[in-house]
């Protein structure tokens, strides 16, 4: 199973074995990564599963769609490497992907 690394803002690091096909958000929630709230359960309706994708991994992801883009624009402290983790599917190619959870979720 691909390994995904979540860094919590507190510095806690989770290395999670995530099955292919689920989303990054689901992997985080099932492993109780603090700060991934995911209130809407992956409908792209709440912006509470925001993560910053580390470094070169960004290019390996499918680009953001318009809906995600709009959610992120008014999210808490968006950056160029911001993503909603519910919109990223775990694939074999993402083995080793590292993301960081922001200090806050929801609107900025």
């Amino acid at each position: 199973m691909p390994r995904i690394i979540f860094n919590e803002p507190s510095g806690v690091r989770h290395e999670i074995e995530a099955p292919v096909g689920i989303t990054l958000m689901e992997a985080a929630v099932q492993n109780r990564v603090h700060g991934i709230v995911a209130m809407c359960g992956g409908a792209c309706a709440c912006a509470t599963c925001h993560v910053y994708v580390d470094g070169a991994w960004l290019r390996k992801l499918e680009p953001r769609e318009e809906m995600e883009e709009g959610m992120l624009e008014c999210a808490w402290q968006p950056q160029g490497n911001s993503r909603l983790s519910c919109q990223i599917q775990v694939t074999a190619e993402l083995d080793g992907l590292e993301v960081t959870v922001p200090q806050q979720q929801g609107t900025g």
Binding site: V29, G41, A75
Partner: protein, 404 residues
């Protein structure tokens, strides 16, 4: 000292509450009792990706079983609570087990409002509220099956869209003169009706259902105008009612839900309620309210958990809602009830627009159709009560965020 906390219910509020209790360091006994046999699970996908088969059953629960084991949360699933005795602080389950508590949290949810017309009890008449309902509907549908949906609200329209995608012939019968009339502007209703019709769904408004007919099982739905709608199955999405029996029988005040204060507490200091079943006073809106939404259940479940532990966390949020119908996403924030002006941003031709509701210069609600940017901006503007610039607001080329 609080040594046992009993949570009744298995929805969003209950799941959030038990999670919060452990996160906050509560080390005592937690027991979660739910009449449904499944691990606490998400309901929003039931009318959408779960019904369509795109989301498998193992992705529905909030947490896997290991979470409950690891955090010593005892689960009593498939066994409804049948009696609450407040004087001795005990709850009796359907199998006779008696559970004592120091604090009790009622997350009883809401139940589908039953159809009241003749024939409503015929086999083939369904509701959509839990996984068992979905299983029954999935069993009843086949490609080309004729589905009559009674009610053009969120559940009715989402279910209609999903069944259409599964190859059913779908007719929606709405009592009012437009769909989703209680939650969106007429312009938005019109847009969604067009979208549904474009996909081959028959949407009929001003249709009062008189009865469901059939010999031994549903065969047709008859309306007051004399029209008859042949059906292989009927799904009624005619609203929900708060579940209050356990509370009311124990003498707790119930009026459109279990009456609680802003701290989610009932009149009994040991008993709290949260989610769809709770009627709470909102300072922001200046009145009592009961919301049926994921966001409210989540936040109120969390607040209730903190208050169970003796904190003073008032629950008072700006509600938000969403609905997915075909490839359209409807995002709503606020309540469009107390306003003096409506402003349309953009138009339906682009399939991406929003309707803003204002009271003076204050934004009170927004319905955003395929426009997450306006929706997210509105969540903040409404929460902060930021006065808007009405000229900028009317200019769709200016982002809502900048319309201040």
């Amino acid at each position: 000292m609080i040594s046992t906390i009993l949570v009744i219910g298995g929805g969003q509020a209950a799941a959030q509450a038990v999670d919060t209790l452990r996160r906050e360091g509560f080390a005592g006994r937690i027991v979660l009792v739910c009449g449904e046999a499944e691990l606490p699970y998400q309901r929003p996908p039931l009318s959408k990706k779960y019904l369509s088969g795109d989301l498998s059953a193992d992705r529905l629960p909030f947490r896997h079983r290991a979470f409950y084991d690891e955090h010593r949360i005892e689960l009593k699933l498939g066994i409804p609570a049948v009696r609450l005795e407040r004087t001795v602080r005990q709850v009796t389950l359907a199998d006779g087990e008696v559970l004592g508590y120091d604090r009790l949290l009622l997350c009883l949810g809401a139940a589908a409002r039953p159809l009241s017309c003749a024939g409503a009890e015929l086999p083939g008449v369904h509701y959509l509220r839990d996984v068992a309902d979905v299983a029954r509907i999935q069993k009843a549908i086949a490609r080309g099956a004729r589905a009559i949906i009674i009610g053009g609200g969120y559940i009715g329209l989402e279910t209609a869209a999903t069944l259409r995608q599964l190859g059913c012939e779908v007719t929606v019968l709405e009592l009012a003169d437009r769909v989703m009339n209680r939650v969106v502007a007429p312009y938005v209703s019109q847009f969604f009706v067009q979208e549904h019709r474009a996909q081959g769904i028959k949407v009929l408004c001003d249709m009062r259902v008189v009865c469901v007919e059939g010999r031994g099982r549903v065969e047709r739905v008859v309306c007051a105008d004399g029209s008859r709608h042949e059906a292989d199955l009927v799904i009624a999405g005619v609203g929900a009612l708060p579940v209050t029996g356990l509370a009311a029988d124990a003498g707790l005040t119930c009026e459109n839900g279990i009456v609680v204060d802003e701290y989610c507490r009932t009149q009994d200091e040991a008993i709290f309620a949260a989610g769809d079943c709770a009627n709470y006073p909102s300072l922001r809106f200046g009145r009592r309210m009961r919301l049926e939404s994921v966001d409210n259940a989540f936040e109120q479940g969390k607040s209730a958990a903190l208050n169970l532990l003796g904190r003073q966390v008032a629950h008072d949020r700006v509600p938000w809602f969403w609905s997915d119908q075909f490839d359209n996403k409807l995002l709503i924030v606020g309540l469009s009830q107390d306003y003096d002006r409506q402003v349309l941003r953009g138009d339906s031709a682009s399939r991406s627009f929003s309707v803003c509701y204002l009271k003076g210069r204050e934004l009170v609600a927004v319905e955003a159709i395929n426009h997450s940017k306006d929706y997210m901006a509105a969540r903040k503007l409404i929460a902060d009560r930021t006065p808007l610039n009405l000229d900028k607001l009317a200019d769709f080329s200016i982002g809502l965020k900048e319309a201040v």
